[in-house]
């Protein structure tokens, strides 16, 4: 193996792949077959973290950064003048196996620029996965990118070898897509998703009857949207995320604050700030939808098309709906308990179990890990002390902000700072 050549390629192709946010290795329960190499960990493992704090779990590379498309937001767009490279199939296999044996990674995340045609590219991606599974008896995690416009037959084959498949829709609105990626059609993205979804459903139902049915993309599908590139509202983004969760049974939708990579009049200029706070609020909303039983219309609607920047979406919802509160944590049902700001799902679980034994007071809740600085205005417990004043939403918000600090506070505070 020519290490110097590989090293050059790796630098180019890993650098180009880093804007894909997803690095999850969870959700698959593939086991090690016949004393081969590797298995998948259901909860996923992050083997390292980049200096920007993102998980490094998979070897995330492009097969090639040659591309026939010219999407404005993409660093490997045809018209961008960057060094190009391509891996051979065997080189990717060797790298994956050797990194895996040293416990650097959970598996492979293989994406690619589109060369010649979508089918041609997809075929190459599938052949890497096939080689890993069949020749190397590799049972670790494989995430393949579905190339927009790939044929159903190839998507079917991809699911047999990969744990997760994903297509990045990148631009949340169809009008934005026309503006930034004129070569791509919306249907090119949804067709592979639809195919994979149907196959997953089919394999699941077959598995119920025949236990030996092979796995088909056990970790499901995911997608990614760029935030802050085309001026869409939070409502646009979250409604389209909710649509993908519902229609295509997505395991995850990722939100990626747009990092300017090219000079283009349609996009924010190079050097403009990455909207990290907004990204954070979108993820919080995503969690509220998936785990806390909120419906999208409660958090974002025509009257509130954008999320509050200074408080989290759950607190913001609670402040708009003070008529639900205060509630008694010792009696309230799980659904409403999870809606109290400052109480997360872990605390909900602990509270529900603990209150079977005795009535809980402030001390118990504090030890369990509830963020009382927020929760105290919305709940009562087994104590004579609770918030008796008749406070309105602005007052509560002010008091919470005054008694807490947030890492993004300096980004939206109107207060001028004394030193700097």
């Amino acid at each position: 193996m020519n290490f110097d050549r590989i090293r050059e390629k790796l630098n180019i192709l890993a650098d180009a792949a880093k804007y894909d946010v997803s690095c999850a290795s969870s959700g698959s329960d593939r086991t090690n077959k016949g004393k081969g190499l590797g298995n998948a960990s259901k909860m996923g493992i992050c083997h390292s973290y980049t200096a920007d704090g993102r998980c490094v779990s998979l070897l995330k590379i492009l097969l090639t950064n040659h591309c026939i498309f010219d999407c404005a937001y993409c660093v490997t767009r045809k018209s961008n003048d960057v060094p190009r490279a391509a891996f051979k199939v065997q080189e990717v296999v060797d790298l994956t196996i050797n990194f895996y044996r040293r416990n650097y990674i959970e598996g492979l995340f293989l994406s690619s620029g589109i060369f010649k045609s979508p089918d041609h590219t997809m075929e190459r991606l599938v052949s890497v996965a096939k080689k890993l599974r069949e020749e190397e008896n590799f049972n670790g995690y494989i995430h393949l990118k579905s190339i927009p416009g790939a044929s159903d037959e190839l998507m079917y084959e991809a699911g047999l070898y990969a744990d997760r498949l994903s297509v990045n829709i990148e631009v949340p609105t169809i009008s934005g897509l026309k503006l930034l990626a004129p070569d791509k059609k919306h249907e090119d993205f949804t067709k592979p998703m639809e195919k994979v979804k149907n196959e997953i459903v089919r394999y699941k139902s077959e598995h119920k009857i025949i236990k030996s049915t092979p796995k088909y993309a056990p970790a499901g599908q995911s997608t990614q949207m760029i935030v802050g590139a085309t001026g869409e509202s939070d409502k646009d983004i979250m409604y389209s995320a909710a649509y993908y969760y519902k229609t295509f049974h997505m395991k995850r939708v990722y939100y990626s604050g747009y990092v300017p990579v090219t000079h283009d009049s349609r996009l924010p200029a190079i050097g403009s700030q990455v909207p990290m706070l907004r990204e954070n609020r979108l993820y919080q909303t995503d969690w509220l939808l998936r785990f806390y039983g909120f419906s999208i219309g409660e958090i974002l609607n025509n009257r509130h098309p954008n999320l509050d920047m200074d408080v989290d979406p759950k607190l913001s919802w609670a402040l708009r709906n003070l008529h639900h509160f205060p509630v008694d944590v010792n009696t309230v049902d799980k659904r409403l308990l999870a809606r109290i700001p400052g109480i997360g799902m872990r605390s909900v679980d602990k509270i529900i179990k603990a209150r079977k034994f005795r009535k809980l007071n402030w001390d118990h809740l504090k030890k369990i890990g509830v963020a009382l600085n927020r929760a105290q205005y919305f709940m009562v417990c087994d104590s004579r002390h609770w918030e008796r004043r008749d406070l309105d939403a602005d007052k509560i918000k002010g008091m919470i902000l005054q008694n807490s600090s947030g890492k993004f506070r300096n980004q939206y505070s109107t207060q001028l700072s004394l030193f700097n």
Partner: protein, 258 residues
């Protein structure tokens, strides 16, 4: 009231369970349970040395497990934390567990129960970290070797994970702090103790113990690690929160930072 007694055990988990068995069996008023190498007798208590008895330990293990699977894993994980005085808290945890009918391990409003659950969680987190932060290096004898220095004694907990995953390669994970390791010989995992001349943490100098290719792959990995970083999103605080500095010396991608 009987005079209180301090039980001395050999430091092993089975030894601890035997001590619990003896305490229940002989209705001893336990003052403390201590390891034999760090025992300290109290002014008003007698001491009794416990000899590890696997059968007795097994009865305690099964007794707790019959109450709840969750409780037995909490007990085992919390024991491996090696926290000072954890034996006595575990003893009172087991007493509470046995006294009530069921479900006591879920009473998070009881400070002992909450403490043990939280301690077990800490150990679980360390176990998960070690599954992530072990970095094997290929030696000339074809063994994948790694040193670790975990906060808690997690080797017994991670051995299954590595055995299942790396079934077709020989590997050895050595705990530098506790001076023992686990070795897999393609068949089963066994405990080993080594006379390590030097600890193989990150050095820029190459050792001839490892294959030549080993260093090439480390270079590739370090390059990859650098390439994945997005400079405009840098967040050192978050980074060290996920990868605390105490682990850096065993992570090859951190070679230059150390």
């Amino acid at each position: 009231m009987n005079a209180s007694t301090t039980l001395i055990y050999d430091g092993s988990f089975n030894g601890f369970l035997t001590a619990v068995f003896v305490a229940f069996d002989e209705k001893i008023n336990v003052a403390d349970i201590q390891k034999n190498n760090q025992s300290q007798s109290g002014l008003f208590s007698e001491t009794e040395t416990i000899f590890t008895h696997v059968e007795k330990a097994k009865r305690v293990w099964n007794g707790i497990r019959n109450r709840s699977h969750n409780a037995i894993s909490n007990v085992y994980f919390a024991f491996l934390s090696e926290a000072e005085g954890v034996e006595m808290i575990l003893y009172s945890y087991i007493q509470k567990l046995m006294r009530t009918k069921n479900g006591k391990y879920l009473d998070y409003s009881d400070s002992t129960v909450l403490y043990i659950a939280q301690l077990a969680r800490k150990v679980g987190r360390e176990k998960h970290r070690m599954e992530a932060f072990v970095r094997f290096q290929l030696t000339n004898d074809d063994i994948y070797f790694a040193n670790i220095e975990p906060d808690f004694d997690v080797l017994p907990l991670i051995s299954k994970h590595f055995r299942d995953r790396y079934a077709d390669q020989k590997w050895l994970i050595y705990d530098v702090k506790r001076k023992y390791g686990i070795y897999y010989d393609l068949d089963h995992v066994e405990m080993v103790s080594l006379n390590l001349k030097d600890i193989h943490h990150n050095k820029t100098a190459k050792s001839d113990v490892f294959t030549h290719e080993e260093y090439e792959y480390q270079t590739l990995w370090n390059d990859y690690f650098k390439s994945t970083n997005i400079a405009s999103r840098i967040n050192p605080k978050l980074h060290t929160q996920h990868v605390p500095k105490r682990y850096w010396k065993y992570l090859s991608e951190k070679k230059e930072a150390v």
